[in-house]
Symmetry: C2
Subunit: 212 residues, 2 copies
């Protein structure tokens, strides 16, 4: 039930100043997108002179690509959680749970993804058309098999995955909106657990046959 996904460090190992720059870049890119971000602001958050940033990352785009690559790696890691069970209810619950935990632990990564899609995915476009599409297709096959076996209600698997992605992503990307609706405070651990449990329950009720 609890997640093993503890991201104390990023996927790619970095240390010292390089890591400070990397983390600063993540937060700035998540907030302002690629175009809206400035190397000066990143350097400021990393507490280093701007010139020093360009020693580790030659251009703003190189830094953005490094950050983006890291986000994709995390996505692929989470994706595998879908496959670890043969039972649809378990697989879906595990996947949604993992995605929710990711949104909670690494909202910045999720926001970088969202921001990248908003501007037309110029950097991760290739990934979407290849790795992501492959993943989706193969999981659609699995879901269709479950439907034929009567373990899931008839449906188009793709739109179900969109619901899962949308909901889990929402808890990262719209954290600000949720805070405003929650007295200015972020969701507490208890609130988040309730949200996660309920989301899984609603999704499962939505696709499991009635008698289950």
């Amino acid at each position: 039930m609890a997640s093993e996904l503890i991201r104390t460090s990023r996927a790619t190992a970095r240390e010292g100043r390089e890591n400070a720059i990397f983390e600063a870049a993540r937060s700035v890119f998540a907030e302002y997108g690629f175009k809206g971000s400035t190397t000066a602001e990143i350097a400021k958050r990393a507490e280093i002179p701007k010139a020093n940033l360009h020693y580790y990352f030659p251009t703003k785009e190189a830094l953005y690509r490094a950050v983006t690559e890291d986000v994709l790696t995390a996505w692929l890691e989470a994706a595998s959680s879908f496959d670890e069970s043969a039972d649809p209810a378990e697989a879906i619950a595990a996947y949604v749970s993992t995605k929710m935990d990711m949104a909670r632990q690494d909202p910045i990564g999720s926001r970088i993804w969202a921001s990248e899609i908003l501007r037309g995915a110029p950097v991760i476009g290739d990934f979407l058309e290849t790795a992501l599409l492959d993943w989706l297709k193969s999981r659609e096959t699995i879901v269709r098999r479950w439907i034929k076996a009567g373990k899931l209600v008839p449906m188009e698997p793709r739109y179900f995955f969109y619901m899962i992605w949308a909901t889990t992503q929402h808890y990262a990307d719209f954290e600000g909106q949720m805070m405003a609706l929650n007295g200015g405070k972020p969701l507490s651990d208890a609130q988040f657990e309730a949200a996660k449990t309920q989301t899984i329950a609603t999704l499962l009720r939505g696709v499991l046959p009635s008698g289950t």
Copy 2:
């Protein structure tokens, strides 16, 4: 079933060049966010000299506020669709349907909203804490009444609204991702209708008592 929401013109009446600037600004702000957008790019898309833009909108921020206000107006219009029926299934179906249609017809508006939230809602923050919170609270009361009456499964209404908002918003904000997964083409009308129908069905199954 079909939506009455035809947004051939924006909420606020505008004409001629002012409208061209307004629409150009919408598309640029949606793509790059406030900071990442430039008045030069907006002027270019509006096919006017940059100086002319400042005749109608004194500053970039004034233009952004005008665009943002328009998005909020559209949101409030859609919100009312929840109230038009006494039956929970009908109310939810109508609301989701309206929101889906909005995402389809005005994805740019949805993206401006998302982009604004991503950077901490500096402009619409007040709206979130007042009008949106009021709306949410009063609808939570309605949903709780339905739950007590046994018309809906026990749940925290808020997280259910988050699911609805997330899913409907996803079809606007992540259109680029969906295109990449759909052979580079946007969802056809038929595909979109299928997605909408299935989304409503899954959500309703998820919250309606089993015997229904």
